[in-house]
């Protein structure tokens, strides 16, 4: 299929952009929004989004086929990984969920259409109306497509014109999704714009920021800081910064009969989006003293990752990424080979442990496809990702919280595998500590649509309220 030239990004990398091009593009989508999108009822938009998402799940859908075939080159995922990740998201984009999201964040499904009131509001003689930004600008990250797709969905619900500053790689799928919306409803497609430019073009970034009513920025903390510094003072900025996640498996789950399921769930979280999302685990903490030892769990996980590599291969990496894995593997190979002794500086400097840490390593042969490192040092460690997981045995959850303290402010999701009664206590402990999402193992990369992204109401953060008080 050939895509029509709807968006600046469709014209390819050779396109010379100037600030005036962006001013004109912003003006055009703002006008189109005023003439059409602003006047649509929420229900119409919900149906449209749900229908578009449903069509994408059809294996013969041409947009989907193109996303899967070209997505590997653009975003670095194999077709199977891409399909699984996209389907998990698309399946959640239903009319019921979209309306549920509006009710959850705004209290009433018709809030974006006119004045409405919840019981407490009506009791105090008030109704209120939530209005989205006229022009919503997104600075998108390229590691996976779903956060950008979710932003697109939210912006349609708030009836906003949307400008997406795409990353140089990884922007194809959101753009394809916009094309599929434009095919269903050209007037909606005309309220969207996509473009990309090199990071150095601050003049373009400034031009875009000057036009925005609200901005979302996803990516590294440094880049978000750079955007924040140049924001006009009265424009709202919603940030989705760098986040990390981990899993915790309580000892009572480590039974012989439960192992297979446990390992399948853990592997699913590692394989999903090749572990590149903020919701993917860097470390799996395993409570020791279970029937199955942490070594037993790690070894079974390695087998499962090897099996999945055949079904859903990770795909090729850049030399730099593969080199990072190679380098990390070597350090652990060396630790394992050297064993406890005076050569390991980390051990000498450790104030928490007198006993030496031991290391086991399982890895794919002749490739960097997957790596399991069992390290008895419980300190949280950032993984190189791309299916590289640390297994760290601990005595109890309290130890995890102590050793993960350095990443507490960046924590997103904790996957918890525990019996219900213990799980509830653990969940509260984790929530008080700072986790913004606690989910079962195996579902880390499949948050529900109504998920409060980074602990904030994603839709609620975009709107501005008007309160109407009756006499």
């Amino acid at each position: 299929m050939t895509l029509p030239n709807l968006y600046l990004a469709d014209l390819g990398p050779g396109l010379e952009l100037s600030p005036s091009t962006l001013h004109e593009a912003a003006y055009a989508i703002r006008r189109n929004r005023e003439q059409w999108l602003r006047r649509q009822r929420t229900r119409t938009l919900v149906e449209l989004l749900a229908y578009a998402a449903d069509r994408w799940r059809d294996p013969q859908n041409s947009f989907r086929l193109r996303a899967l075939s070209e997505g590997a080159a653009d975003a670095g995922f194999g077709p199977a990984t891409l399909a699984r990740g996209l389907d998990a998201f698309l399946a959640s984009v239903t009319a019921e969920n979209l309306e549920g999201l509006i009710v959850q964040d705004l209290g009433d499904a018709k809030r974006l259409d006119g004045f409405a009131g919840t019981m407490p509001e009506l009791r105090t003689g008030r109704t209120s109306f939530a209005r989205g930004p006229e022009l919503l600008v997104h600075f998108c990250a390229g590691n996976l497509p779903t956060p950008t797709l979710m932003n697109l969905v939210l912006g349609v619900l708030t009836k906003s014109a949307q400008f997406f500053k795409l990353p140089t790689r990884g922007g194809l799928i959101p753009r394809l999704f916009a094309h599929s919306l434009a095919e269903l409803e050209p007037k909606l497609g005309a309220c969207l714009e996509f473009a990309t430019w090199p990071r150095e073009r601050l003049d373009l970034e400034d031009a875009l920021l000057a036009n925005a009513d609200c901005v979302t920025a996803t990516g590294s903390d440094e880049r978000i800081q750079a955007v924040r510094q140049r924001m006009p003072v009265r424009t709202r900025l919603v940030i989705y910064g760098h986040r990390v996640s981990f899993a915790y498996i309580a000892s009572e789950m480590l039974t012989l009969y439960g192992l297979k399921r446990l390992v399948a769930d853990a592997a699913a979280d590692i394989v999903a989006w090749n572990q590149l999302g903020c919701l993917s685990p860097h470390v799996i903490y395993v409570q020791d003293q279970g029937v199955v030892s942490p070594e037993g769990f790690a070894s079974a996980l390695a087998d499962e990752l090897a099996r999945l590599e055949k079904l859903e291969p990770r795909g090729e990496l850049s030399p730099t990424e593969a080199g990072a894995i190679l380098s990390a593997r070597t350090v652990y190979e060396m630790r394992r080979a050297v064993g406890p002794g005076p050569l390991d500086l980390a051990r000498q400097e450790s104030v928490f442990f007198e006993s030496a840490h031991t290391v086991h390593l399982w890895q794919s042969e002749e490739s960097t496809a997957w790596t399991v490192v069992l390290d008895t040092d419980p300190t949280f460690k950032h993984s190189c990702l791309q299916r590289f997981i640390y297994i760290k045995p601990v005595k109890q959850l309290a130890a995890v919280l102590r050793f993960a303290e350095p990443i507490r402010s960046q924590l997103s999701t904790v996957a918890l595998a525990a019996q219900e009664d213990i799980g509830a206590a653990h969940a509260l402990e984790l929530a008080r500590w700072g986790a913004t999402r606690i989910c079962p193992l195996g579902r880390m990369q499949a948050p529900p649509l109504l998920w409060r992204h980074d602990g904030r109401p994603a839709l609620g953060d975009l709107v501005t309220w008007t309160d109407l008080e009756s006499c």
Binding site: G76, F139, C140, A141, G142, N143, K165, P167, T168, G170, P198, R199, A217, T218, G219, S220, D221, E222, R223, I224, V227, H242, R243, V244, L276, G277, C278, H282, E316, L317, P319, T320, E321, A322, G323, A324, I325, L326, S327, A328, T330, V331, E333, M334, R335, R336, A337, V338, G339, L343, D344, L345, A346, E366, S367, T368, H382, S383, C384, L385
Partner: protein, 389 residues
Amino acid sequence: MLDPHSLGTRRLAPAIVEYIHRTSPAAAPAHRLTAEAADAQFEQLARELFAAQFAANPPYQAWCRSRGVDPTRIRSWRDIPAVPTAAFKEFDLTCLPPAGRTRVFHSSGTTAQRPGRNFHDAESLSVYEASLRPWFVAHVLGELPELEAEELLAPGQDPAFLSLTPPAEAVPHSSLVYMFDTIVRHHGARDSVFAGRLDAGGGWEVDHDRALFALRKSMCANRPILLLGTAFNFVQLLDHFAAGNIRYRLAEGSRVLETGGYKGRTRVVPKAELHALITRHLGISPRRIGCEYGMCELASQAYDDPGADHRRFHFPPWARARVIYPETGADVPDGQPGLIQICDLANVASVVAVQTGDLGVRSGDGSFELLGRAEAVEPKGCSLNSADV
């Protein structure tokens, strides 16, 4: 009793220095090894050095053994297991017994991380100096055919150096400054200057008054000057020039050697832009701006061809670079990108083969084009490739 180091690596050092002398660009024709002999001896020395290091370097031996490698398995220098630079942060990858480690060089990078460390003693430093001098002289002091030596070196006169780094006494753990110091000691005029100093946070900064004084002095005397420094040293100097709207025209024949490197600074200027700024503010033509590629984990350096469209780095004959595909460890085909791996005979007291995280494109003659240095390949999860917001 003699330790394994004294038995092995120490015994090999003179042979390696001899090899350096006989393959160096400065070697007298009668003394110079033929290409064939040089290849054969390189092979022989690399294998012997590996065997000696295997015996004397415990973590290296343990790691090689865990991979099923020992000196009897090595058929070619390419088979020698290369240690990633990351391992130098954690392990003492040295053949020197603790009491014999009289000097240590640290890798640059962000201060939050533990640096990589390469240990030396008097003998390994003498091999280091034997390695660094002839290649520097050939590439920077102008014995290359396209640069006329007399421009810089008036008869009987040593060139004046201005190093923008702090002096060696202030930064004893910098292998780069040790190298500059060695060069200036042996080849520099007496009024050569180290114009850097340490700031309050321990970072390097350029003392602009001293640097500008040295530059003005050379201009007044119409005498060429040779500027040395890291990329960030030059950024600092040029920022100062830009702020004061200063433009100098250094004497004809003046040169710049820039070593890359930003030491964890947030501001990074693309190479082409940096060189354009040097030309604009110092009046040094692009073909007089050379780049160096080196690291504390090695004892030899590579230099590029100034002015060429594709700047290729060349290691000396006693250090050979490969560009490998990390998934398999195999050489990439010519023109393809991969990671740079170096087999450096001058690295006598450590490990002969080092795996970098730096990205390069291989060219047929063993040289490579540098695409990017991995100053901190500490992956950061989500931001791995989402950095271009």
